[in-house]
């Protein structure tokens, strides 16, 4: 067994898992964080996207032991009990999702982008979401939602650190 200690959504957790366990499996089956989805399991669909040490990754393509000691942010870490994250609000307001399966991955990709680049161009947003497949929406409303958050962050710098 591999002993893995990670900080998930701000909380330190230690688990023992078989060495071949992926980060996605660790999150879903050992930590009960089922927001990140198991889609293709080979990195094509992006439904499992989480943020590790500030970078978006496919959690299905990392071993749990490879994130030992690292900081992991999942979709569960964005909202508080009484407030959605601005990206979640924007996705809701714009009707950016239909079935919603790709949503957690798309939102984590968008969050990773905005954390590094608060005012991205449409081209940059498209590039950031290229690894997240959605078969319902056609992406336009997702891009609008990310733009809406980018604009509000720029007019109210205080929302940026959420």
């Amino acid at each position: 067994m591999a002993k893995v200690t990670i900080t998930v959504n701000g909380e330190a957790r230690t688990v023992s898992v078989p060495p071949e366990t992926t980060l996605l499996k660790l999150l879903r089956e050992h930590l009960n964080l089922t927001g990140a989805k198991l889609g293709c399991d080979v990195g094509d669909c992006g439904a499992c996207t989480v943020i590790v040490n500030g970078k978006s990754v496919n959690s299905c393509l990392m071993l749990a032991s490879q994130v030992d000691g690292f900081d992991v942010l999942t979709i569960e870490g964005l909202a508080t009990t009484d407030q959605l994250h601005p990206l979640q609000t924007a996705f809701e307001e714009k009707g950016s999702l239909q079935c919603g399966f790709c949503g957690p991955g798309v939102i984590m990709s968008a969050k990773a982008l905005l954390d590094e680049e608060p005012d991205p161009s449409v081209e940059r947003i498209r590039d950031a979401l290229a690894g997240n497949l959605c078969r319902c929406t056609g992406y336009s409303k997702m891009i609008e939602a990310v733009q809406a958050v980018a604009n509000s962050v720029n007019s109210h710098p205080s929302v940026k650190s959420a």
């Binding site: 399991d41 071993l63 490879q66 982008l113």
Partner: protein, 294 residues
């Protein structure tokens, strides 16, 4: 996935020692974007996985006496953000950008890309056109293999089970050489190359005479290849529109594309002619802007 054990290497020396201890039943994991996707569908797997993702001494991008050294563990994202590489080889930045999507580029490494040995690897053609050298570490020491001799066939390289790809070296004489890379896929993101091409060339902008033209092609032969006849056609001659178009046609005759569900061999051959010509044009443009900037 079948069960395996994992050991984590602290640095490159430790990685070599672990490989020596566990080869031939061990596999290296760097970014894992190729290995894990593979192991999930494989009926057999390694008993031991040597995790080199924390080997900090193979993550540097530096200019040394020998040239530009890129550590095997440098990710595609790190290549895109490197000021040195942006300045010297925009073609490498572009090639890195065409790989997968952000998530894959954040994990996937340059060394891992080369070791996969697939003919469609996107970092292959540019590095081959720049005559890169692969630096390999093993218990026997350090050896260097020219890129053109590194690949043996689809998914086969000269690396032995106890060898570690440590760094990729672009030799000093090619630093800043005008180079251009083009990939043609069925979509912009998340698509493997149907054909890719890279060209590097020194050009005397006054006479248009070019020297040391190097052309490399991806996804049209069992490995990434050079196109020596197309290169010979250009060497020492003026880089005119006709010459570049003819080099493209010659390169197409040197390619050995296959037909598959993505495209026919004939279509790929046409693409080789066009992409080779455009890659040469791109390198030439860069030669002109560099001169203007100087």
């Amino acid at each position: 996935m079948r069960a395996f054990d994992v050991v984590t290497a602290k640095d490159s020396r430790h990685a070599v020692a672990l490989l020596a201890e566990h080869a031939p039943t061990a596999k290296v994991i760097a970014g894992g974007t190729d290995l894990l996707a593979d192991l999930k569908f494989s009926s057999h797997g390694p008993a031991m996985v040597v995790d080199i993702s924390r080997v900090e001494d193979l993550k540097a991008i530096t200019i040394t006496d020998e040239g530009l050294s890129i550590g095997a563990l440098v990710t595609h994202t790190a290549i895109m953000r490197s000021p040195i590489i942006n300045d010297m080889f925009p073609a490498l930045v572009h090639a890195a950008h065409t790989i997968g999507a952000v998530q894959t580029r954040n994990l996937g490494t340059l060394g891992g890309n080369l070791v996969t040995g697939v003919p469609s690897m996107d970092s292959g053609p540019t590095l081959m056109a720049l005559e890169a050298i692969i630096v390999i570490l093993s218990p026997a020491g350090r050896r260097q293999v020219p890129m053109a001799e590194f690949f043996l066939g689809p998914r086969k390289t000269v690396l032995k089970p106890d060898e570690l790809l440590a760094e990729i070296l672009i030799p000093k004489q090619n630093l800043g050489k005008p180079t251009h890379f083009l990939k043609f896929g069925l979509r912009k993101g998340q698509a493997l190359a149907l054909v890719s091409a890279a060209a590097s060339v020194w050009v005397d902008v006054d006479t248009q005479i070019c020297s040391a033209p190097r052309i490399s092609l991806g996804a049209v032969a069992p490995t990434v290849i050079r196109a020596p006849k197309a290169e010979a056609h250009l060497d020492g001659r003026p880089l005119t529109a006709d010459a570049m178009a003819e080099a493209g046609r010659i390169a197409a005759s040197e390619a050995k594309p296959i037909s598959d569900f993505r495209a026919s061999a004939g279509y790929r051959r046409e693409l080789v002619a066009v992409l080779t010509k455009r890659a040469l044009e791109g390198a030439y443009e860069l030669a002109k802007t560099k001169r203007r900037g100087a």
